[in-house]
Point group: C2
Chain length 117, copies 2
């Protein structure tokens, strides 16, 4: 369905950088050009552009050329595989804890009731 879907590797790697997370956080509020995004970052523009490119490669943003400016905007859907994976692991983990709770609860009930036979 999606044109391409970058791996969790690519996704998490893209999110592992403060600069890139900043960019994303800014774009969550709305589109911006590269120079606008760059403002406030103490970093040479080419280095900064690399980060933008990596976000694009990860499918987290899309960019288009408008005159001499490159406009970037966020693709929020791209986050879902990451969220899903996280929720899944958390679910399994919680499930285990709950089952452990049940187990302990049963032990306690057994003790209160005393041995039956």
């Amino acid at each position: 369905m999606a044109k391409f879907d970058p791996s969790l590797d690519t996704l998490f790697t893209a999110l592992a950088e403060p600069t890139r997370r900043d960019i994303l956080a800014r774009l969550a509020r709305g589109p911006a050009s590269v120079t606008e995004l760059h403002a406030g970052h103490a970093m040479a523009l080419p280095s900064f552009l690399d980060h933008v490119r990596k976000l694009e490669a990860a499918g987290l943003i899309a960019t288009r050329k408008e005159g001499r400016r490159r406009i970037c905007e966020m693709k929020g859907e791209a986050l879902t595989p990451a969220v899903h994976w996280l929720e899944e692991q958390r679910g399994l983990w919680q499930g285990r804890l709950d089952r452990f709770d049940d187990y302990v609860l049963n032990l306690m009930k057994e003790r209160d009731n005393g041995p039956r036979s």
Copy 2:
């Protein structure tokens, strides 16, 4: 409150590796020793251990020595900062889309009603 809380950098970096995600997914089902975790991974044990160590450094797992074995278990809470960050960005992004919807809806209503004055 937490003993230490690793940065989002550390967290997302730890999640950016398939081997490490595998380990985590396995541990979500319950504790295991290093050798148990290692089984099925075509990789030398020392290399594998490095991954375990990185997960531990990220606070995603805890390990303790039991005799000659090292037992690992998942610390599911450690995932929450990552989940929170993701949800926050998604929220902002969705919010923007919704406001845009409202805007379009208003335009349409204006058109249907016709200009008032």
